[in-house]
Structures are given as C-alpha cells and as structure tokens.
C-alpha cells in the first residue's frame, strides 16, 4: 500500500489567471464553478494510469495557492476534477490544498475559523514555509489539532534556506501530529509545479539538486525519520518513480531502511487517518452511537461505550494503531462488521475498567 500525497494539478485557466493577476483588484470575479475540458482531463488521466502502474494505491491531487487564501477569490478546482476522472477501483484519490507562505503571509493567510467552509472539502492541508517566522507559525500554531490543522509541512527543498531549522520547532510539530514532507522531484532536477516556481518556492537547475540533498538531509536528521513522509510533486510523467525506488533514494539521505519504508507506507497512512479528525469535533474520530441490542435491558456497558471510545481515541490520536480498525478506518473502505465491532468494544471496556 503505497502513497503519493502530492500530485500537482493546475487551474484549467492558469494562463488567464496570470494575466488577471497583473491588473489587481477591479477584474471580474473568477467563476465559482471550474470545469475541466475533456482534453485537460485526458491530460491528467495518463499520469494517474502511470501512478497505478508503478504501484501507488492512494494518491492526493494537490492544489497550490500562493501567499494567502482569499475567501472571495478561492476556487476549489479539485471538486469537479475528481468527479470527472474515470472510476478506478482499488485506488483512493484524495484532495489536498497547499499554501505557500512567504513574507507577506506572516500577518495572516486565511487559515482562520472564519474561512472554515473553504477548507472543509479538502482531505489534507499543507504549508510551505519559506521564512523562519512562517516555519514557526506552521510548526507551533497550525499543527494544533482543530478543524484547520495543516498536517503537512513541506519545506522548499530546492531553495537555499537562509535560516537554520530549530530542533525544538520540529519536535513540537511532530508531537502535535504534523509531518514533514520530502518531495523527490528535487533530486531528479525535474520540472516543478509552476505555482511553486512563481512563488519562489522551487527551482530547477544545477544548484537546485545540491540544495535538495542538503536540505533533505537536514530534515531527515532533525526528524530522525519519525514524522517523515515522501511524495512526488511530479508534474511531468517522465519524472515519476516507483515506490521502492523512492524508498531506496531516501535511504541515501542517511535514513535507515525500515524508516525509509515507513515514510512511504505507514507514515502517510496514519497521516491521512489523522487528517480525518479535522472533520470531527476535537479529534473524537466517530460520533458516539448508542447501540441497544434487541431484547436486552440497557446494561451499563452499552451506555458507557461512547465515553470509552472517545477517551480511547483521544489517547490514540497521536499513535493510531493498526488494530483499531473499527473506528479508525478510512471511510471509503467501508465499515467493519457488527459482531467484530461489539467484541472489540467489550475488550476495550474491560481494559478501561482494569486500568481504573
């Protein structure tokens, strides 16, 4: 089960968007509905086909925004795109929003409760900090669990960072559940997402590859391989690589073999699960359901299961275990069967009682 959580997708009218940027303000509003023409969808399909051929099962389409999210002008390009893509059984397609933070975003970039409705449809939110103050914003404030947590911190690896990354910031972010992302496109020297290049968060050239190795090694050293995920960030088809090849590449950064494997399998998996908590209140993964079996009296075990499940998931939030399938499953995969759930809940109740 391999994850590629960064497949950049462009706004279909990207070139016209550039022109309208130059004359600020008085332009007509961009249309709220964005449709991709069949030709543009046909351009994206082969990339997904290749990803499937190489062995990726979970893919996240990525929309990148520069500096700040402006509520009035923001268009969710992924909603319609996902519906227009042909159905692929066994593949999960997620939606991700990336915000590139620069000097101007230090005052605020729209990730506030007031704009919560804009962020709700996205499964993942990522930040690309380019200065030390935005990095501390991303690590400290925005990794706190809430409906607007930015779970992914993707440092711009191809730039020469003029600031030193502090270990305490990284540690706090990891403790709160955020992950640091490494995009392997930088090592190949391939074409980067144009929005990133415009925002000055990515480069391709001789020095870009050297910066990639330096910064990626630094990130690996600081995270010690724990909260690390690897993704593509690949725009051109020819730069895609198979997941085991990518794992091997990460090993060359000084990461142990098992940590490298975790970075493309279990780390993104638990990240996606954790990101689901954004859709719930205060990281309680499931709405408590009162189940009264037919023909029996309402016993204490039944009425107390909601609180047990909430306290369990609270403590499990930071370390979601593989066994907690009943509550922690990705919704698309369907729920586990009734009897299994009931027996698991009973076991938890026993453990909770013994614990007290």
């Amino acid at each position: 089960m391999f994850f590629d959580l960064n497949v950049p997708v462009h706004h279909p009218q990207h070139s016209s968007a550039q022109i309208s940027k130059k004359s600020k303000g008085k332009q007509a509003q961009q249309p709220a509905e964005v449709t991709y023409s069949p030709a543009q969808v046909a351009a994206i399909e082969p990339r997904l086909d290749l990803l499937v051929h190489l062995g990726y099962t979970v893919v996240a389409l990525n929309q990148t925004v520069q500096t700040a999210v402006i509520p009035k002008a923001h268009v969710n390009i992924l909603e319609n795109l996902v519906q227009q893509l042909k159905p692929r059984p066994g593949i999960v397609i997620l939606k991700r929003l990336t915000i590139v933070l620069d000097q101007e975003s230090e005052k605020g970039f729209g990730l506030t409760p007031a704009n919560a409705s804009i962020f709700k449809p996205y499964d993942l939110i990522a930040l690309v900090p380019t200065t030390l103050s935005t990095l501390s914003l991303a690590c400290l404030t925005h990794s706190q669990p809430s409906a607007l947590t930015a779970h992914i911190i993707a440092l711009p690896l191809t730039l020469r960072l003029d600031f030193r990354m502090k270990h305490t910031l990284v540690r706090t972010a990891l403790k709160n559940g955020a992950v640091f992302e490494i995009n392997y496109i930088g090592a190949l020297g391939g074409e980067n997402d144009t929005v990133l290049v415009e925002a000055g968060a990515a480069e391709s050239g001789a020095s870009a590859k050297r910066n990639w190795w330096a910064t990626a090694k630094e990130v690996t050293r600081l995270t010690k391989g724990k909260g690390l995920i690897v993704s593509g960030g690949v725009v051109a088809e020819a730069d895609l690589r198979a997941p085991r090849d990518v794992s091997n590449l990460i090993t060359l950064l000084g990461l142990a073999q098992d940590a490298a494997h975790r970075a493309s399998t279990s780390a993104p998996k638990s990240l996606v699960l954790r990101a689901q908590t954004r859709q719930t209140y205060r990281a309680v993964l499931s709405d408590p359901v009162l189940v009264i079996p037919e023909g029996t009296l309402p016993t204490p075990s039944v009425t107390s299961t909601p609180t047990i499940s909430s306290s369990d998931t609270r403590s499990d939030k930071k370390r979601p275990r593989e066994g907690e399938e009943g509550e922690g499953e990705i919704p698309q995969k369907g729920n586990s069967t009734g009897p299994e759930n009931a027996s698991r809940k009973k076991k938890r109740k026993k453990n909770a009682q013994e614990g007290r």
Binding site: L188, A238, L240, D245, N248
Partner: protein, 151 residues
C-alpha cells in the same frame, strides 16, 4: 568465508510518449548508468561500483534489463538508476521490479515479468486466447536466454 556477494537488479525502462524511442542495448544502458553515477555520486560513487557493475541482459520487446552490482554499494547503483532521466536523448522511467542476491530468483522474476507484459499486450490487442501470435515464440526464446545467464 569471504565470498564476493552480488545484487541482481531487474529494471524495466518504461518509455514515455516522446516521439521515437531509439533501440536500446546493454551498452547504452551501461553508459547511461555510468553517467548518472558520475553526475550524482561523483568519482567516489563510480569508484565504489564501477568495477562490478554489469548489464547482463536486455530485451527490447518488454524493455527489461538485468544489472549485476556488488552488494556492498548496490544502493548507489540503484539510486543512480532511479535518478536516470534519459538514455540517448529519449526519456525513460526506470522501474526496479525486483532485487535479489541470487541469479535464480532474478531469472524467475524476469520470466514472470515477461509473461505479465505479454499478457498485457495481448489484452490490449483483444485477440482470442486460441490465436497463436508471435509472442509465444518470443516468450520461449527469452526464457531460454534468461535461463542461460550465469554468474
């Protein structure tokens, strides 16, 4: 016992739809890997694997290649293969299908990979299963060539 250990990489070169794909052969692949090692890992990298790297087999029909490297620094060679972007001007995606320590496992993996690729070709061509096409012949000859590989 100080035995010289190897790693056998089974690599599939997926051509991207970039116009004409020139016919590859073992030497061109070796040259491309050499350039990739020199560019990405320098003289140190090439020194570690240069004497032991060998392209043992290449099949143009299924784009499959078998490379043998010494075990100690095979990750450098593997990384260099991953970081390869183009051979002789045409862009390829190198996909390492299987890595093993013995030639036997590589042979088995190569034969089953060939069969999968031929099955895919046949499914695309939508011919009936009774139709005897040239792939049958290819499967036999390639299986013989692969079995004939030795250390």
């Amino acid at each position: 016992m100080v035995r010289f250990k190897n790693r056998w990489l089974l690599v599939e070169f997926i051509p991207t739809s970039n116009g004409s794909a020139t016919q590859l052969d073992g030497y061109k692949i070796w040259e491309a890997v050499r350039q990739s090692v020199l560019n990405n890992f320098g003289d140190v990298g090439w020194g570690s694997i240069g004497l032991s790297i060998n392209v043992k087999y290449y099949s143009p029909t299924t784009n499959i290649c078998i490379i043998r490297v010494a075990r100690d620094h095979h990750r450098i060679a593997w990384g260099a293969v991953t970081l390869l972007t183009a051979i002789e001007g045409t862009r390829y995606i190198p996909n390492v299908v299987h890595v093993s320590g013995t030639i036997k496992q590589t042979q088995l993996a190569a034969i089953s990979h060939n069969r999968e690729v031929i099955a895919r070709f046949r499914a695309q061509a939508k011919t009936s299963s009774a139709y005897k096409d040239s792939y049958e012949e290819y499967l036999k000859t390639s299986a013989m060539e692969i079995e004939a590989l030795h250390d």
